[in-house]
């Protein structure tokens, strides 16, 4: 069928042909003529190929932001304090799946998953504990949260209220990118249309009450890790970004204002130059799209600000210490691409939640790149390289082609509702697995230079306290006994009534629900009554 992505360019000289992971055929050498006598211009100048800041990382180093969280709020609070003590400069909260999918801990679907892949935050009580002793006015916090993003953002505002921190001082990000959840990652709850409404509500509200907070981080990371190429990662993400822009404009938002608070999030995998070129091309293309399609001229609104994660599926369980080297190379690529914040995976994340030991090495990796490698000394050190400028052009061209295919299908929302995009990713994942099995894609220690005789050393094993689930359930039961039930019911009823209309911004009502200590599951249940649930299109 036509939905199957085209493989890379045909190889005329198979023995000599080298392609990037996206399938771009790499010349043996790139000359000035081949690169089109490149002059990428200056940083902080449209179209921002060389970056959005004139002084690069000198004015402001990237934020070292390690995704972390597990168990109950108490355990995660301890881990955060440890990471801050090690010199981490921002927090990134991993939430458990019940919180992400909108179930209270006592729901049968939730019980086996409590605290497993992140921290359980079933109500404001838990968020108060999570940030105990951490001044929300002084730290920027990122939440990888989507299906329940509006609720978690409301909870963060309520937590700031409780700490006495003014909302306009808050900095940080909620991921709040539901479109990619339907394609990969899978923590959707509601159908596409009401989910878009909830995103518009939170972004528009945030622009007013917490103007320094990024209420959305449009993410390509997860589709990338699910199997697609670097070109597709950027293309799908920019397509989703444009869908959000359209929705926000439809809701009356001023694009020059809200575009200043859109941010992005990507994976950095192993091909150093392709990854750096991906970010340079994406940054340029986003600025062009906003300017050409929406007439945006304000520089700050055109700025493509992004965070990255290094690791993910590029890490393997075979000889796991090799992953430290992979992450260091990916970290370099992200810096050469001009990332604003970076999360480096720990070497053991291919198979477990990192231990304190492995988490520390991941932070140290970034500090070595930042303070020893010299890579951050000058802005866009790859700028003007024949190969990198040529590759940046090739990547941009490829991205536009993929975006054109989505447009031709009928747009990204339709492509997702029909399962068309999901199928494209699955086919790509199959191709990648097959190339790995055949050894065409080399993974050192796994399919090449593998030492069969020697058992892999996994180092220290992380074990979640098995009592955590029981403790969370006790706290949840206590909360429900001790709160003002009349206030809870009042706030939930108001939420449900407003959700049933198309016009109310739900954010103030969600903040009140949080202050009343309504639970995530209760809020989601009221919205489900109005909107139903997403029905996953399963197409293989």
């Amino acid at each position: 069928m036509s939905a199957v992505p085209k493989p890379g360019a045909p190889q005329t000289q198979p023995e000599k042909c080298v392609t990037t992971p996206s399938g771009i055929k790499v010349p043996v050498v790139v000359t000035r003529e081949m690169a089109g006598d490149p002059d990428p211009g200056l940083p902080a100048t449209y179209p921002f190929t060389r970056g959005i800041f004139a002084d690069g990382y000198r004015g402001r180093p990237w934020t070292i932001r390690q995704y972390s969280g597990f168990g109950s709020a108490e355990e995660s609070n301890q881990r955060y304090r440890f990471l801050l003590d090690q010199g981490q400069t921002g927090l990134s909260v991993a939430l458990d799946l019940p919180t992400q999918c909108g179930y209270d801990p006592d729901d049968p679907m939730a019980r086996p998953e409590i605290g497993k892949v992140g921290v359980s935050l079933f109500s404001l009580s838990e968020m108060e504990t999570l940030f105990a002793g951490i001044d929300l006015g002084a730290i920027s916090t990122s939440f990888t949260i989507n299906g329940t993003a509006a609720i978690i953002y409301a909870m963060y505002l309520a937590a700031a209220d409780k700490q006495g921190v003014a909302r306009e001082k808050l900095t940080g990000t909620i991921q709040n990118d539901i479109l990619k959840e339907y394609v990969a990652r899978g923590t959707w709850i509601f159908p596409v249309r009401p989910s878009l409404r909830l995103i518009a509500d939170s972004v528009l509200y945030s622009n007013e009450v917490s103007p320094r907070f990024n209420a959305i981080s449009i993410a390509g990371a997860h589709v990338r890790d699910a199997g697609c190429t670097a070109i597709e990662e950027m293309a799908y993400t920019l397509a989703n970004g444009l869908a959000y822009v359209d929705e926000l404009i439809r809701r009356g938002g001023d694009v020059t204002k809200f575009a200043r608070r859109l941010s992005f999030f990507f994976y950095t995998h192993m091909d150093l130059f392709e990854e750096a070129a991906k970010f340079r091309a994406g940054r340029r293309l986003w600025a062009k799209l906003l300017r050409e399609r929406y007439g945006v001229t304000d520089d700050k609104a055109l700025h493509f600000r992004f965070g990255v994660v290094c690791g993910g599926s590029s890490l393997v369980a075979a000889q796991p210490y090799n992953n430290i080297v992979r992450v260091a190379i990916e970290n370099m690529a992200a810096v050469l691409g001009g990332a604003q914040s970076i999360f480096t995976c720990a070497y053991d994340e291919a198979f477990q939640i990192p231990t304190e030991f492995s988490a520390e090495i991941a932070v140290r990796t970034q500090q070595i790149v930042q303070h020893e490698s010299g890579v951050a000394a000058t802005v866009d050190p790859l700028g003007g390289s024949y190969y990198v400028e040529w590759l940046t052009d090739q990547m941009e061209k490829g991205m536009l082609e993929v975006m054109g295919e989505i447009d031709a299908y009928g747009g990204v929302v339709k492509a997702i509702e029909d399962g068309w995009l999901q199928r494209r990713i699955a086919v790509r994942a199959m191709q990648k697995k097959d190339a790995t099995d055949k050894g065409e894609r080399v993974v050192v220690g796994q399919n090449k230079f593998r030492r069969e005789a020697q058992a892999d050393s996994y180092g220290e094993v992380f074990r979640l306290d098995p009592q955590i689930s029981a403790r969370v359930l006790v706290k949840h039961a206590e909360l429900k006994r001790n709160r003002d039930t009349a206030r809870v019911e009042r706030s939930l009823a108001a939420l449900e009534a407003a959700a049933a209309t198309d016009t109310h911004n739900l954010m103030p009502l969600l903040v009140e629900c949080c202050h009343a200590y309504a639970t995530v599951g209760e809020m989601v249940e009221r919205m489900k009554r109005c909107w139903g649930e997403f029905q996953e299109p399963v197409r293989l």
Partner: protein, 138 residues
């Protein structure tokens, strides 16, 4: 197309690929489903976020030869046990259950001891997995 195409060692088998629990990582499940189909099997894929009860019911209704559970959230022990217990309670404890995902080696041993017939992780090739499946289902 994967390297298993053409051999069809699983022709005539009906295999359920299921995502129990709340884990949203479905790339592995879909790759396996596509590979099993290339190997000749008829594949039923549940989609995300299914309860163990639901999975047992589908296994019964569809009269499957095997059940594959894909779990990357760390909840493999609990969820695999619930599916195994459910199949036994329904009188079809002989349907072989396989588990794939992010499974630490020592947990793999525990799953096998609990009655799981095979544990598949990312560093195995599709050919290896299908050969093992074909042996168990022969």
């Amino acid at each position: 197309m994967s390297s298993v195409v053409g051999t069809r060692p699983l022709a005539g088998k009906r295999i359920l690929i299921a995502k129990p629990g709340l884990d949203g990582h479905d790339s592995g499940a879909k790759v396996i489903a596509l590979a099993l189909r290339d190997a000749g099997a008829e594949v039923i894929y549940t989609g995300l976020r299914k309860s163990p009860e639901f999975i047992v019911r589908v296994a019964l209704d569809e009269d499957v030869s095997a059940v594959g559970l894909s779990i990357l959230s760390g909840s493999h022990k609990e969820l695999a046990r619930e599916v195994l217990d459910g199949l036994r309670a329904a009188g079809v404890g002989d349907i072989p259950v396989f588990v794939g995902g992010t499974i630490p080696p020592e947990d793999a041993a525990g799953l096998l001891a609990a009655g799981v017939k095979g544990v598949f992780t990312n560093d195995m090739s599709l050919v290896q997995m299908i050969e093992q499946l074909a042996r168990v289902l022969a």
